[in-house]
């Protein structure tokens, strides 16, 4: 299949649109997560979705995507609440709280999965494939929902940009200015929950984490200003979504989710090497030119003394 065929195929066009919006919104919200040192929140929420999905299946008895999404979102909210309680009311640090919530939710999820397996519900095979994500199974309504959620995410991030910026860099000062810090804290985490939940279906829980982290880190290499970083990170996310989808449709039998992640990683390496100021090549160049200047200077001094 060449590029034109891909562009004209309506099914691929929908998938392309969906992954594009997914990358855009997770890139934007991911840059706040990165600055707040909550990059692995996506990983935690993605694992924590398992018990939510199991409970949704046990209660309704049907394998329906919308019930699964609701279950995953509720489990994500519970996880966010627990993380914030753990860090606020004990000396447990953020990373440990993320790890505790991740492993205990997933452990309880596995217990529920075995319960479902042994009970009258019978076939549970759909539950774990849901966790690994299947981009090819995306339909128009899913894409519409992704678009709606990413519009809401981007709109809220623009609206609350000043508050989020303050909260990311100096929460103490934000509190002193009278901002509702606890509320805003929950609010950002809820936006991340929304991004993770709509992404689960497309790229799977394990890889959803990467869409929140990698574009933000890549964007950080290029700029020192937050608004440029957020925009760049959205663009990097979008590019990874598009290039991953295009590669997976042009090469047979390759899963889309992992390819999106790998193209995000490729963008990360590109930024790591070629970014001005912070990139590897530019710092090597700076060192070399500094050395050269220094030796030129030495030469000149030597010449002055001898003459």
């Amino acid at each position: 299949m060449n590029l034109l065929d891909i562009m004209t195929d309506p099914n691929t066009r929908w998938i392309l649109l969906g992954t594009m919006f997914l990358g855009l919104s997770s890139g934007v919200i991911g840059s706040f997560a990165y600055l707040r040192k909550q990059s692995l929140l996506g990983d935690t929420l993605a694992h924590a979705a398992l018990p939510g999905i199991c409970i949704a299946f046990m209660l309704t008895g049907v394998k329906s995507t919308s019930f699964f999404l609701i279950g995953a979102a509720l489990a994500g909210l519970a996880a966010v609440f627990l993380i914030s309680v753990l860090t606020r009311y004990s000396k447990i640090k953020q990373d440990a709280a993320l790890g505790i919530v991740l492993s205990s939710f997933f452990g309880f999820g596995i217990v529920m999965l075995t319960q479902i397996q042994q009970s009258e519900y019978g076939n549970q095979s759909g539950l774990d494939t849901f966790l690994f994500g299947q981009t090819a199974s995306m339909v128009m309504s899913d894409v519409y929902m992704m678009m709606a959620v990413s519009f809401i995410l981007i709109f809220t991030c623009t609206l609350f940009f000043k508050e989020f910026k303050l909260l990311s860099f100096d929460p103490g000062f934000a509190k002193g200015m009278g901002l509702p810090v606890v509320f805003l804290d929950y609010f950002i985490m809820m936006l991340i929950v929304a991004a993770v939940v709509i992404g689960i279906q497309a790229v799977g829980v394990v890889l959803m984490a990467s869409l929140l982290i990698t574009p933000a880190v890549s964007a950080r290499y290029w700029t020192e200003r937050l608004h440029i970083m957020v925009i760049l990170s959205g663009i990097f996310g979008m590019l990874s979504g598009v290039s991953g989808t295009l590669i997976s449709t042009s090469v047979n039998n390759l899963p889309t989710g992992p390819l999106i992640v790998l193209s995000a990683t490729a963008w990360f390496f590109f930024s790591l090497l070629f970014a001005p100021k912070r990139g590897v090549l530019s710092s090597v160049w700076r060192r070399v030119s500094l050395k050269k200047n220094h030796s030129l200077e030495q030469e000149r001094r030597k010449g002055r003394y001898t003459s």
Binding site: Y34, K37, Q38, S39, L40, G42, D43, L86, Y89, S90, K91, I92, K93, D95, A96, L98, G99, I100, L102, S103, S104, F106, G107, F108, G109, I110, V111, L113, T114, Q115, Q118, V206, L207, A209, S210, L212, I213, T214, A216, V217, R220, N253, L254, P255, G257, P258, L259, V261, L262, A264, T265, F268, L272, R278, V280
Partner: protein, 293 residues
């Protein structure tokens, strides 16, 4: 007898993970176990493609190599200015994605059941026995995980002072002439070895849970690193015993129940720890308020 073997393997995994977990908690790098258990996937697939067998030795070697690579890459990105949590996230998600792509590229013709090759199930450990010279010497998992446990204990015990200083104050450690980076890599290799050796026999969720939860519980119960390590081993062993019996009552996944009981023990510590618990701090506050009034 089978009960005993399963509980023993669970307790050994819990013990060796929680010793290392204490250091991860104080270094704020707890999610590294989760990262390693995902990022070894391409190593296992490559080992399978190169040797063509499903023998566990080459797969373990491949997994261990990728575990070390993960640790090395995380350290590299971190020293180039990426935050620790984001470095962990980038490395493990991209390696895991590369693993999945490898699986779907090369192993479609061959029957390669990921879940069963990759992640063991603790319930089957008693039947996978090791025979040395015709004598049956107990389950293989007991030997593998047991030797990991002993190695961890010996190294941590011998170099306790160094590990402690490197974890709490790397600058001071460097000034005192302790090779900080070397000890960092020793600790990380121990973690990657323990993770790989244990998930082969008991499944990854048990490893990830046991690296974090017992150590965090001990963190709330003790203020000294040596005390924290002892408490975390006790918590880990307790949760594997409780987990096994609750799994037989509920008829559910044993590893899931072990992690679940560790989580319940953590909740108890979070609420009722004598020094850092929520309830005890509230009581203390009320008492001092009354005294003030």
């Amino acid at each position: 007898m089978n009960d005993f073997w399963i509980i023993l393997v669970g307790a050994l995994v819990a013990g060796s993970c929680s010793v290392l977990g204490c250091f991860l908690i104080v270094r704020k790098m707890t999610l590294i176990g989760d990262a390693i258990s995902h990022s070894v996937l391409p190593g296992i697939v490559l080992a399978f493609l190169l040797t063509g067998t499903r023998d566990s030795v080459p797969m373990l070697v491949g997994a261990a190599a990728l575990g070390l690579l993960t640790v090395f890459l995380i350290q590299l990105f971190q020293s180039s200015g990426v935050q620790a949590d984001a470095a962990i996230g980038i490395v493990f998600t991209s390696l895991f994605a590369a693993g999945i792509v490898l699986v779907s590229l090369y192993t479609q013709q061959i029957d390669f059941d990921l879940e069963h090759v990759l992640y063991g199930e603790i319930a089957y450990t008693p039947w996978n026995t090791l025979t040395i010279g015709g004598i049956e010497a107990g389950p293989k998992a007991v030997w593998i995980v047991g030797s990991c446990f002993i190695l961890n204990l010996i190294l941590i015990f011998v170099f306790f002072k160094q590990f402690k200083l490197v974890s709490f104050d790397p600058a001071l450690a460097a000034a005192m002439g302790i090779p900080v980076l070397l000890f960092h890599y020793v600790l990380m290799s121990l973690i990657s070895m323990t993770t790989v050796a244990s998930f082969d026999s008991v499944g990854s969720i048990l490893v990830v849970g046991m690296l974090i939860i017992p150590a965090a519980t001990a963190y709330l119960l003790s203020d000294r690193l040596s005390g924290m390590i002892k408490v975390s081993i006790v918590v880990g062993v307790l949760s594997s015993v409780i987990g096994y019996y609750s799994a037989t009552i509920l008829d559910a996944s044993i590893s899931g129940c072990m992690v679940g009981s560790a989580a319940s023990l953590f909740c108890l510590a979070f609420l009722f720890s004598p020094t850092h618990g929520l309830v005890s701090r509230l009581l203390k506050r009320r008492k001092s308020k009354e005294r003030y009034a």
